[in-house]
């Protein structure tokens, strides 16, 4: 039996709360950058196969902008901040003040990429620092890396650690949206994909027995 099947509903609730606190802080940061109201859904914690994971982000072939970073320190995992291209374009426009910017095709300009990377940096930084405060564990982000490509090609990187022990992943997924601006329901996703050892470390840091 894989470690993932041992997770009980109470522990899932804790993971949901982690997503809630982390993404809540990130949403506040985003709201401050854009000076706009940002809505956040209650996080989803799901146990999914790798293929289902791709579907959650729009399908393996769907093209997205994704900022990927590793969570390091006492507890490790992978984190993705995933944006559909129209949303990425919108964020770049707001951040740079250049309303004519178009993210239509490669090669993408370097400053646009750097701008998105910085977005990812700020948001995932605030996500992880709140997680670190909450658990009193030393958790910090690696330097983020950006890719605009197919979901399947990018997310599989976050599954590498997990794939050595399991064929399923626990995903803590939070959706950020800006009040009905986009018809597209996929706005911004935070995916936290904990490494296998993450769970015992987090649960014991929070005083929850892993085998309850």
């Amino acid at each position: 039996m894989s470690f993932i099947e041992k997770i009980n509903p109470f522990q899932l609730d804790i993971l949901k709360e982690i997503g809630n606190i982390g993404a809540g802080n990130a949403a506040t940061a985003l709201s401050a950058i854009l000076n706009r109201k940002i809505d956040m859904n209650v996080p989803n914690v799901r146990i999914v196969s790798f293929d289902e994971m791709m579907e959650m982000a729009g399908g393996a072939e769907h093209v997205v902008a994704s900022v990927f970073l590793r969570m390091e320190g006492d507890a490790s995992g992978s984190m993705f901040f995933i944006l559909s291209l129209p949303v990425a374009e919108y964020l770049i426009r707001k951040m740079t003040g250049d309303e004519t910017f178009l993210i239509d095709s490669a090669p993408y300009t370097e400053w646009a990429l750097s701008c998105l990377q910085e977005f990812g940096n700020i948001l995932s930084g605030s996500y992880l620092s709140s997680l670190s405060d909450f658990t009193r564990l030393n958790i910090y982000p690696s330097v983020p890396s950006l890719s605009i490509d197919m979901v399947g090609a990018t997310i599989s990187y976050g599954l590498l650690e997990l794939s050595q022990v399991s064929d399923t992943a626990i995903v803590i997924d939070t959706v950020l949206e800006k009040d009905q601006l986009f018809a597209d329901s996929i706005n911004g996703h935070f995916f936290l994909l904990p490494d296998p050892e993450f769970f015992d470390i987090i649960f014991s840091a929070l005083g929850v027995s892993p085998n309850d």
Partner: protein, 167 residues
């Protein structure tokens, strides 16, 4: 026309494999660091595709493994299935695509440069089984979607930034 519409696509997921016979084509989407290997017998009109995630089953840390996930186990298993379904071992050929480096990291752990390692492992496994690689499109930093067609035995490769091509 109705004949054409009947052409069906068999989809292979991540860490998965399958085989086809006409009129089917076989496809896998969103290869990043993963490698897609097509092994086929042209005359017998049979082909198999594996979407490989990791180079070596010794990386597995749990007892029960998914053989389609690792280069060494996936290729052996795929060849076995193909031969059982009528392919002839000495006539098998292979085409591969994938093994890209999607993200650039300053601190490069082994897992972060998994793409090239996957490609090396696949090549080695194929050469151990004496299966010739007739075409490949590997490395780079783009995701790929591939589809193999038994009519002309061409592998169609689609990328986001570099368009499509057949190998």
């Amino acid at each position: 026309m109705t004949e054409l519409l009947k052409v069906q696509v068999v989809k292979v997921g991540i860490a998965d494999m399958n085989i086809i016979k006409p009129p089917y084509t076989i496809r896998t989407s969103g290869l990043g660091s993963c490698v897609g290997v097509v092994i086929y017998d042209e005359k017998k009109e049979i082909a198999g595709l594996a979407h490989i995630m990791l180079p070596d089953s010794s990386l597995a840390k749990s007892g029960q493994i998914n053989v389609a996930k690792f280069a060494d186990t996936a290729i052996k298993e795929l060849v076995q299935i193909l031969v059982k379904e009528g392919a002839r071992m000495p006539f098998l050929k292979a085409k591969l695509a994938g093994g890209a480096q999607m993200f650039q990291f300053a601190s490069e752990g082994d897992l972060m440069r998994i793409g090239p390692r996957n490609v090396d492992a696949v090549r080695k496994e194929l050469s151990d089984l004496r299966i010739r690689v007739v075409a490949e499109d590997v490395g780079g930093n783009s995701g790929r979607t591939i589809e193999f067609n038994l009519n002309d035995c061409l592998l169609n490769i689609r990328t986001v930034t570099k368009g499509t091509k057949n190998i």
